[in-house]
Every structure is written in C-alpha cells, then in structure tokens.
C-alpha cells in the first residue's frame, strides 16, 4: 500500500505539489492522471525516495520514504519517466545490476531474469548492448529492472508509452495478473482508454492537488459521459472554475 498525505514540494518559486493526499491500495491498480505539469512526476520522485518533500509524507507498506528510505525502496518497483539505460550494458546486464542492488544473486536471479526476458518478449535483444535500442526496447528493459525483485508495490510512470500493440497487451496482462495476486500498482498515463481499461481507481490531479478521485464508473457517472477523455477535460474545467473558498473542488473526491 502506498499512502501519500499532505505532500508538498516546491522548486524555487514553482509549487510542483501542494498538499496532495491519496492512497493506492493493495490488489488495486490506481491511476494518477493530470495535465502536463500537474505534479505527477514530482509525486513519483518523492515516492521513489529520490527527493525530499517540503511537507507531508509518503509511506510504502508503512515505511516512510524519507526516514526509512531503503526499506521503502525494497518494497517498490519503480519505473520513472526517464528510462535511462547504460549504452554499454546489455539488457540482461541491466536487470542483473538492479537484481544485485536488491540483494538477489546466483541461480535465483538468473532464473528471474530468464522469466522476465520471456515475459516482456526481450529474447531478440536481451544480450545486445543498449546503444541503439528503440523506445519500446528501452521501456521493456526498464520494466524488467523494476520487476526483478518481485516488489509488492509498483509505481509506474507511463508504463506502455512507446510499446507496440502486442507488447502493450502483454504489459496490461502482466499488471492485471499482479493486481490479482495482491500487488499495489500506482501508475500514470496520458492514454485515457488505457487507464479506463486498467485502473480500479482514478486520481485526477491538477496544480499539485487532487481534484477528483473515484472508480472510473463513478467519475463517468459524475461527468455524464462514457468517454474518459471527456470526463478528464470536464473535471479539470470544473476544478479550475468551481472551487470553494478553501480551494476544494466541486468534483467528486
């Protein structure tokens, strides 16, 4: 379970996140959606343990990501928006490196790497160096290293961006399987069709705050439209125009 409460983070004069609160439960896929600059990546960076919040806290399975960073990180499979591969390492070596950093080694790790290579359809390039990989190949390697230690919680920034149709379906199937096994999955995506299909709960944020949240069905019902894209646009418009004196939006929270 990932619990974010009252999270605030500013970069200079820019308030990236301002008092954001949300919970991503176990056995659920929670979608964090919002326009560019809404604060999704900053929220994820704090949750990954990369940067310290100015205020508020993020806890993974009860472990505070600032005070107990290593324990929290052991429980998270992280896919940041920058995939970042080492051009001189092979796909398999990338996954092995992260497996080692998570305390895995020997035959257990090698079996897990083989499993991920098959699962993410990396057979064709698993032993090739990463220089020249396509975006889809880079994403598969990044997913592989996020999943190598079979984390209970996944935080995925745009997990299917750049993948071909077959791979997208494979990743979605994988995420549903993990959800059914009890994993907590928090993801962001700009593809409304995808979040509609995958997510059990949606959290819409804007300007660093939650403006609406609920099941896709609840949000569709509130907006009076089956099209999630329409729901998203209407939510942002309502949240921007229709807030009370304390800044609370009229959207469902």
């Amino acid at each position: 379970m990932i619990e974010i409460s009252g999270l605030s983070k500013a970069f200079g004069k820019v308030q990236a996140v301002g008092g954001l609160t949300l919970t991503a439960g176990d056995g659920q896929i929670t979608g964090l959606i919002g326009p560019n600059g809404a604060g999704k990546s900053t929220t994820f960076r704090v949750a990954f343990g990369l940067i310290r919040p100015d205020d508020g806290r993020v806890a993974v399975d009860g472990r505070d990501v600032v005070r107990d960073r290593l324990e929290a990180q052991r429980r998270v499979g992280a896919l940041p928006d920058v995939r970042g591969l080492y051009p001189r390492l092979t796909a398999r070596e990338h996954i092995r490196y992260f497996g080692n950093l998570h305390g895995l080694s020997g035959p257990v790790l090698e079996r897990r790497i083989d499993q991920l290579v098959a699962l993410l359809e990396m057979d064709g390039f698993a032993d090739r160096r990463a220089r020249g990989f396509s975006r889809g190949q880079e994403l598969k390697v990044a997913l592989g290293r996020a999943l190598v230690h079979e984390p209970a919680n996944l935080i995925l920034d745009e997990p299917t961006n750049g993948l071909d149709v077959v791979s997208v379906r494979a990743v979605r199937h994988l995420l549903r399987t993990m959800r059914d096994a009890g994993h907590c999955i928090l993801l962001s995506s700009h593809l409304m069709a995808e979040v509609g299909m995958l997510c059990d709960r949606l959290v819409i944020i804007n300007r660093g705050r939650v403006v609406a949240e609920g099941t896709p069905e609840r949000l569709r019902a509130w907006a009076g439209s089956d099209d999630l894209e329409e729901v998203f646009v209407r939510t942002l418009a309502t949240a921007g125009a229709d807030t009370d004196a304390e800044g609370r939006s009229a959207c469902p929270i």
Binding site: L50, R75, P80, G84, Y86, L101, H102, P151
Partner: protein, 399 residues
C-alpha cells in the same frame, strides 16, 4: 498493508558498494575513452622525457657536430700526439680564451686541462671544463670527450699490442668532464619532471570514469532509475570511487612502468652524473602515491557533483590535473629543500618526496608518513562533502 515480502536479502553496505564498483568497471572497460585515458595517455609523458633524454645524450656526445671546433688547452704540449690527433679531427687548439677565467660558476668556453704529470704514453686524466647549461659548450665538450676517448683507445691498443697483451685489459687515458655551471646536468632536470607528470596522470587517469558515472549518468538519465534502488548515496559514491581508483591505479602502474622502461632504454648515465632511478624507486613511488590516488578520485567526484552539466565538468576536470602538477614542474627546475610544513600540503608533500627518491637523496620517513596521513584525511573530508552533495536534489535531478 501488503503481505507480499520483497525478494532479495539485505546485503551489507560493502557488498552493495561492490555491485556498483563491478558494474562501473565492466561498463568502462568497454569504453574506448576510458581505456585510452588509463592505458595510452600514461605512455605520453615517458615518451617525451625519453625523447628529451636521448636528444640530450646525443647532444652531449657531440654526435651532431661535424664542423671544426675550437677549444682552449692547458698543458697539451706535454702530450703532442694527442694535440696532433685532435688537430687531425678538426679541433682547433688555442692557448686561452683571451684572459677569461675558466672554472666552476664562471661562464666561459671549453677548456682542456692536461695534468702536470702527464706523459705521452699515460696514464693521465684530461679534464674537460665546460658549462652544461650552455648547449653549444655541452656539444663541443661531448665531441672532444669522444675524440679523447677514441685517442685513448688507440693508444691503449698500440701499447698493449707492443707488450703482447690483450688491448681490452686496461685503459691508459681517461677523461673527466667537469661541469662548471650552476646546476647539475640536464638529466636531473628531466628526472625531476617525472613526479609532476605522474601527479598529472593521477588526476587524469580516471577522469572520464568520474565524469561519466556522475554528471554523465545524470545527463543520460540513468542516475534517477539507479537511485530508486535500495542503496545509500554514500555507498553508491564509494562504489563509483572504487572503480575510479582502480582505473587510476592502472594508469599509474602503466605510467611508472613506461618511465622505468624508457629511462632504462635511454640510459640516463650517458648524460652525466645522474644515474637512472631503478625499479625499486618506482615501486616505492607507486606505494607512496596511493593516498594521492584516493584524494584525486574524491576531488574528481566532488567537482563532477558540483558541475551542472557534463560540459562544465569537463572544463573543470580538464584543468584540475594542472593545479597539483604545476608546483611540481617548478620543483623540477629548482628543487626545494624538504621542510615539514610541505607535508601538510596534500600532493605537494608526496611530490617533494618523489623528487628526492628519484634523485637518490635521503627521505624523511616522518615526512612521508605525515603527508600520507594528511592526504588520506583530506580524501575522507572530500568524500564526506561529495556524499552530502549527493543527498541534495540539485545533484540528482537534472531539471
């Protein structure tokens, strides 16, 4: 809360550092730039010094002189055969240099001094007085020395054959070169260049690895995923520092081995009084330079952490090796007497020791230990600073 436990054991810190170190070594062994810096650049200094030594040696032997030369001679009338031999070989002999005194510290021209007890058939020693700081005088002295040696060998053969002896047994005439300038011969200056060149390589050897594994990693976007792994920032830094240290060590070993090889081939003894430093000296220098290597790696990591971009870091780290090497270059020309305060300056303390070791001068072991301790303490402080920098958001996130 999830009851799914994370797979993998919690390894001790040194094992996590080892994972990072191994990855960096494997990664950079595949990188031509890192290999070039570690294995090819260290050969350049020794090649330059070797070339200069060879040219100097040839110059001192007068190899390049083919025209007539003039030298002043004192007492050569005692050995007229030698005077004839020199005249036959295009050496013009004059009685004196117009009243100019010739001796240590006095600028003048080459003088041959035949001792009062010299006899035509020897043995006797001809002194060749010259200023080794004067290139022309050095070359003329070298030419005359070669000729006198040649005359000596000729005389030796004649006299031995006349007595039915093997000519290889004795040498009736020897020559002693007396340098009258302010300093010793050129070889000592060239040998003194070895420590600053070595320090330069220490600060250059792993520079690409330090850049690539820090600011380069941030620009490439690999640092952010890496920091999501359960490893403390200082552990990560220590692993990277370990890899950079290994590359620096390889650089220094190659550098010193190349110096030893080149000096052996050029035979420093041919230049005059300075004998080439031996393998033991180079081995000792390698051991004593270990603390400097540690400090160099830590400084590189801090500079790379402070820099905002790879380009900025390249500028800083490109200049960095010059800072510690410049005082050494000054010391090469005018070696300072070692004082205890010099040890308090990391790197400079070691450089002073290296210069003395190469010159074969005695070394203060108190100074050696003190400089090692101070350098290591400085390295730890710089590492602590680098680790603190790595905790800051700006060091990690390129935005």
């Amino acid at each position: 809360m999830s009851d799914l436990m994370p797979k993998g054991a919690v390894w001790p810190w040194w094992r996590r550092c080892g994972v990072v170190l191994r990855k960096e070594v494997v990664d950079h062994l595949r990188d031509r730039r890192s290999i070039a810096l570690a294995l090819i650049y260290p050969l350049l200094g020794p090649l330059v010094v070797g070339l200069l030594l060879q040219l100097s040696a040839e110059s001192q032997r007068g190899v390049h002189i083919t025209h007539e030369i003039t030298v002043a001679a004192r007492g050569l009338d005692r050995v007229p055969e030698l005077a004839s031999f020199l005249a036959l070989n295009q050496v013009e002999l004059v009685a004196s240099w117009g009243g100019e005194a010739q001796g240590p510290g006095k600028r003048g021209r080459v003088v041959l001094d035949v001792p009062a007890d010299a006899t035509p058939h020897g043995p006797f020693t001809v002194r060749v007085l010259f200023d080794a700081n004067n290139v022309t005088e050095t070359a003329i002295a070298g030419r005359v020395t070669e000729l006198i040696n040649s005359y000596g060998r000729q005389l030796e053969r004649q006299s031995l054959v006349a007595h039915g002896l093997d000519p290889a047994l004795i040498q009736p005439v020897t020559v002693e070169r007396v340098h009258t300038g302010h300093r010793l011969d050129l070889s000592s200056v060239l040998y003194n260049l070895i420590p600053p060149l070595l320090i330069f390589m220490i600060f250059l050897g792993a520079v690409y690895l330090a850049l690539d594994s820090t600011v380069g990693e941030r620009e490439r976007g690999t640092l952010e995923p890496l920091l999501t792994a359960p490893i403390r920032r200082w552990e990560l830094l220590l692993g990277k520092a370990g890899a950079a240290f290994l590359f620096t060590l390889a650089t220094v070993i190659f550098n010193l081995a190349a110096f030893r090889l080149v000096l052996g081939l050029c035979s420093g003894g041919a230049l005059g009084s300075e004998a080439a430093p031996g393998s033991g000296t180079f081995l000792l220098i390698l051991v004593l330079s270990l603390p400097v290597m540690v400090l160099a790696v830590m400084v590189q990591l801090v500079v790379a952490a402070i820099a905002r971009t790879l380009k900025e870091a390249q500028i800083y780290l490109g200049l960095l090796p010059l800072v510690p090497a410049l005082p050494g270059i000054a010391s090469a020309v005018a070696p300072a007497e070692p004082h205890l305060w010099m040890s308090s300056m990391p790197v400079f303390g070691q450089m002073t020791t290296f210069i003395r070791l190469i010159a074969g001068a005695p070394v203060s072991w108190l100074q050696v230990v003190l400089s090692a301790v101070i350098t290591l303490v400085s390295a730890v402080l710089v590492f602590w600073w680098a680790a603190r920098l790595y905790e800051q958001d700006r060091t990690l996130i390129a935005d």
